[in-house]
């Protein structure tokens, strides 16, 4: 009880700061970074509901992200349906997909859910490649113009700058945090965690485990689909590998794992680590730093090599991070911090 008030205050201050930020920052790159951060938080929090709280480790969340993104983009491109309507079609499609997956996999134990989740995502990816009439196949869907968003006759935004996307992304990230917060404080949260800790025990205590796993899956999938739709309209382009690929599924999962699974702020921490790191690699920031610091000369072979290759190395970095986290801090950054704190407390006593 003592902790709740300062925490809520800190949360409000941060949200207030984020709401005000575009007034003071108009650098598009800075806004872009923030939008990526919001997107990552939404992805991580969504996965966390199923993977972290319910203990069902989906390695196929790209399926929900991609179906959300594709439905919105297809409706926009082919029928001119505005994304704020199209997104609900995406959500409906994702609910159907999630329930099909759930009804097949949640009767089984062990690694089957993980395997099936990958298989379903791959079916989606391959279908997107092959159903060229609907999805434009491997070329993907490009939509450059969004219709202006109106309420009545008043144009709220015409999406010409990054600012409306910034607020949309912020709203999405806050929504996923709020949903997770609500789950933690409800019967759902208790039942999810009981299933994660011990299915048999949970079952004996009156929890219909298949139903609650499906509830977790649907909530997680719907939020992921919203993130997918947002990605689609923000980037303006979707194609099978970027929104339905296995790499994306792994990335989504990583956000929660690195930050700390089954904790409210774990995915936020994970995003704060992963987004800047991969952006720094992508934009050759690290190479530039190494060159500037005099550690590596820009013209040397090492310098050349780094410049050419480090930009592609962010996935390698993901791999190394996963291995290190699993071996040395399996509870993620949150768990690591908690352990340090409790050790210090013990020493103080």
């Amino acid at each position: 009880m003592m902790k709740t008030l300062p925490r809520a205050a800190a949360f409000l201050v941060i949200v207030g700061g984020l709401l005000a930020l575009p007034r003071y920052v108009d650098n598009p790159y800075a806004l872009h970074m923030m939008i990526l951060l919001f997107l990552s938080i939404s992805q991580g929090e969504s996965w966390n509901i199923l993977g972290g709280y319910t203990g069902q480790h989906s390695v196929g969340h790209a399926a929900y992200f991609g179906v959300g993104a594709y439905t919105t983009m297809m409706l926009l491109q082919a029928k001119g349906i505005a994304p704020w309507f199209g997104v609900w079609a995406g959500v409906a499609a994702v609910i159907v997909v999630a329930l099909v997956i759930g009804s097949i996999c949640f009767r089984l134990r062990g690694p089957y859910f993980v395997l099936a989740s990958i298989a379903v995502a791959e079916i989606m990816r391959l279908s997107a490649i092959n159903l060229t009439g609907l999805t434009n196949g491997a070329e993907g869907i490009l939509v450059t113009d969004l219709p202006p968003f109106k309420i009545g006759e008043r144009v709220v935004t015409d999406f010409m700058t990054k600012v409306p996307f910034y607020y949309l992304g912020l709203a999405l990230a806050l929504l996923t945090l709020l949903v997770t917060w609500g789950i933690e404080r409800s019967k759902l949260g208790y039942y999810f965690q009981a299933i994660r800790e011990d299915q048999d025990a949970a079952h004996s205590l009156g929890i219909p485990i298949a139903r609650y796993k499906n509830i977790g899956l649907v909530i997680s999938a719907v939020l992921t689909a919203l993130a997918g739709s947002f990605y689609g309209i923000y980037v303006g382009f979707v194609d099978p590998p970027t929104v339905l690929g296995l790499d994306l599924s792994v990335q989504i999962m990583l956000i929660a794992i690195i930050g700390g699974m089954g904790t409210l702020y774990g995915p936020v921490l994970g995003s704060l680590v992963l987004v800047p790191l991969s952006e720094a690699l992508r934009s050759n920031l690290i190479t530039d730093l190494l060159v500037k610091s005099g550690l590596v000369s820009a013209d040397s072979r090492t310098g050349q090599f780094l410049k050419e290759n480090l930009a592609h190395a962010h996935v390698l970095l993901y791999g190394i991070l996963v291995v290190l986290v699993i071996l040395f801090m399996p509870e993620g950054i949150m768990g690591f911090v908690k352990k340090l704190a409790s050790r210090r407390r013990k020493e103080a006593v």
Binding site: R185, K187, Y190, Q193, D198, A202, S204, L205, G206
Partner: protein, 239 residues
């Protein structure tokens, strides 16, 4: 009418019969002891009764209702709950949260569930442990936590699977008192136990299983004087 009627229950795994044609009744408000050598099919019978396996043959009738084919969560909602021989704490949840999970079978309000949970923790004298992580408890307290969590679901019939296993005499005595307290509150219990002295003290009736079959049934006095039971147990200790 008995609270639980088990009639001709058999359970086969492949060609092996883990339970063969077991029948007995458990009267409301009584304590039924279930004993037998290792591998006699005691836990399998619990699993058949509580919905973890469907019985291959026979019928389980609880409170006038046929239970065959019901899932464990339905069985629990209908008022029959079991504990586990190998304790299954929800390790990363606190003690009170563990018990709350049980209480949430009766209410959706977290506040009410917490009150119910604290009440059950008092019953097992663990209210001072409420905030501890369940995974860090010593074995004696884990066993008591199992019982509190099961009680929180509001059962009519409690099935305890070796709840004294691995405990020291003082801890066992505490569990015996707890079982008798629960009986005094009017709950029916079925208890699997290896400690013969304890089972003789608490049970109203005892069923003896050997190799999946019911060897005999009776009051504790009848059972200890039964020659077949003596043979079965001597046989076990000679093996």
């Amino acid at each position: 009418m008995a609270m639980l009627e088990i009639s001709h229950v058999s359970k086969f795994f492949g060609g092996l019969a883990a339970n063969a044609d077991v029948s007995f009744d458990v009267e409301a408000g009584s304590i039924m002891g279930l004993i037998g050598p290792n591998g006699a099919g005691k836990t399998t019978l619990f699993n058949c009764i509580t919905g973890y396996y469907p019985p291959s043959k026979g019928e389980v009738v609880f409170d006038g209702r046929r239970m065959n084919g019901l899932q464990p969560d339905r069985v629990c909602k209908l008022g029959m709950v079991r504990t586990w021989q190998k304790v299954r704490p929800l390790a990363k949840l606190s003690v009170v949260d563990n018990v709350m999970v049980g209480a949430l079978a009766r209410t959706s309000s977290l506040r009410k569930a917490r009150e119910m949970a604290m009440e059950q923790l008092k019953v097992v004298r663990m209210e001072h442990r409420a905030g501890f992580l369940a995974g860090g408890l010593p074995i004696g307290e884990r066993k008591k936590l199992e019982v509190a969590r099961a009680l929180a679901t509001g059962p009519k019939l409690l099935l305890l699977d070796e709840v004294m296993g691995g405990l020291n005499p003082a801890e066992s005595e505490e569990i015996i008192q707890l079982i008798l307290d629960i009986k005094a509150r009017g709950l029916t219990q079925m208890v699997i136990e290896h400690d013969m002295k304890a089972i003789m003290r608490i049970s109203d009736r005892i069923v003896v299983l050997t190799s999946g079959e019911k060897l005999t049934e009776g009051t504790p006095q009848e059972v200890v004087s039964n020659q077949d039971v003596i043979d079965a147990y001597l046989g076990e200790s000679h093996a």
